[in-house]
Amino acid sequence: MTREEERLVILQVLAGDASRFEVLVRAYEKGVYNLALRMLKNEQDALDASQEAFFRAWRALEDFRGDSKFSVWLYRMTSNICLDMLRRASRRPEASLTDEEGGEADLPDPAADPHRALERREVRRAIREGLDRLEPEFRQVLLLREMDGLTYDEIGQVTGLEPGTVKSRIFRARRKLAAILTERGNFFAPEPSNEEEKEGGGVRAQL
């Protein structure tokens, strides 16, 4: 959907044709749902948060000024809702977020792997698990950057952070993740040069 089409649909909804809102839901449900799923790590919560985000967006549609992308505006609602849910959950004694140590028992332990060299698939799994252990505010910015491809400015709009803060938070998120991966096992083998050529070569070529 082009931005112009999007604007037209928004005008139609604002003009009273609420059913047209479904066009926007269909266009962005995947991004919204995945953002919520990544933040909440629970399908039912992600569904609830996504629906709440769209519903709030519909109610607040008049306030959408169009100076940012609609998706970014929507992500911001989603993100805020998820953070609220996480905050509420963290006040509960059995909250998953404060349960990182206990939760670990459910996860396969890479250190138990007798082979030190991880296949790419295993690297990905390790990264996914590492992401899960990041604090939500760090996971959020990193995923908005890497998965949704948002710019620093756009992430700032989603999170309400200054672009400079976004920048440093993404950096810190990467460092934390690297630290988690290192601490958890043998992600960074003692022969980094080999590892670089094998895994990072393609990206290093950008340099």
Partner: protein, 317 residues
């Protein structure tokens, strides 16, 4: 914008370079900074490892496929939106999102009413429009007295109706085939029930009709805000194949059909569908001239005391 530390007397720390590396991945570095980061990665094994980790986590995250959202997501949102939509101020709200194109149809049909009325009174002829389109308001009373030209096919299969405009030259070729065509018929019926509902809509659409005639019907398909905000002039009816089967203005008569004896059997395929008071109503012939109807969510039809022909007689002709 960028706060750099590279002018400092001390050698930048590895942390500084790692911050550059993070921004390098995000395309946020100047050429100068990029060269500095690159040089440092080459010369510092620790930072080379960190760079490698940064790259790999980016690849891994981007490699994660997004999950398809469950169908319940959109359905739940739209149910809530429908439940909270402000009720239309008129007797016949069309709110079901399943029938979302109908509002537009109603606006378009309203335009057709105007054009058709104009043809009868001679106002909307091409010449009149290009020379003095500003006076159409004075003809509105006559527009109210006419009805839309909706042709329902003889077979009750519910294929698309043809709504005919006054002057084929006024319709863009090929634009909106269901709505363009030659005017070869006179108004067939004067349905008094339609008139009061049409009036406000007609006023809202009048300017559009005058201002943009050369764009044909397609220009009208997106109603102006006023038209979208107001109420459909008559109930649009969908045929079996989802086509627009016509309009019903006499909702009192329509409601009178919605009685009868509840049946047990499964729901047949509907011949007609419409939205009444925010609920979807389905109609089907029983194969013997009788009329079955049910509402969205029903599991069995009701046999109306009326016949299929009674229903079809309500279509604006």
């Amino acid at each position: 914008m960028r706060k750099k530390r590279k002018g400092a007397a001390c050698v930048p720390s590895c942390e500084y370079y790692q911050a550059l590396m993070s921004r390098l991945l995000d395309g946020d570095l100047t050429a100068e900074e990029q060269a500095a980061a690159q040089e440092h990665i080459r010369s510092c094994p620790d930072c080379a490892r960190v760079w490698d980790a940064f790259c790999q986590m980016g690849e891994a995250i981007r490699g994660e496929a997004m999950v398809e959202p469950p169908p319940a997501l959109a359905r739940g949102v739209m149910d809530r939106v429908a439940a909270h939509s402000r009720p239309a101020p008129a007797p016949i709200p069309v709110q079901s999102h399943r029938l979302r194109s109908w509002k537009k149809l109603a606006a378009a049909a309203c335009f057709v009413v105007l054009v058709a009325a104009g043809a009868v009174t001679g106002v909307f002829g091409r010449d009149a429009r290009t020379t003095g389109g500003g006076n159409t308001a004075s003809y509105l009373p006559e527009a109210k007295s006419e009805t839309a030209y909706v042709h329902l096919p003889e077979d009750a299969g519910g294929s698309a109706e043809t709504v005919r405009t006054a002057d084929p030259a006024d319709s863009a070729p090929g634009a909106g085939s269901a709505l363009s065509g030659a005017a070869d018929s006179a108004p067939l019926e004067n349905n008094s029930a339609a008139a009061p509902q049409m009036a406000p809509e007609a006023e809202g659409t009048e300017e559009e009709a005058v201002e943009a005639p050369e764009e044909g019907i397609m220009a009208i398909m997106e109603p102006p805000q006023a038209a979208a905000d107001s109420v459909p002039l008559a109930l649009p009816v969908q045929g079996a194949d989802g086509s627009d089967a016509g309009l019903i203005a006499d909702t009192a008569a329509l409601r009178a059909l919605l009685t009868g004896e509840a049946l047990d059997g499964p729901l047949p395929e509907p011949d007609y569908t419409l939205s009444l008071d925010g609920e979807t109503c389905f109609f089907a012939g029983d194969g013997d001239g009788g009329l079955l109807w049910w509402r969205g969510g029903d599991t069995a039809p009701t046999r109306s005391p009326a016949s299929l022909a009674d229903l079809e007689a309500l279509f604006l002709d």
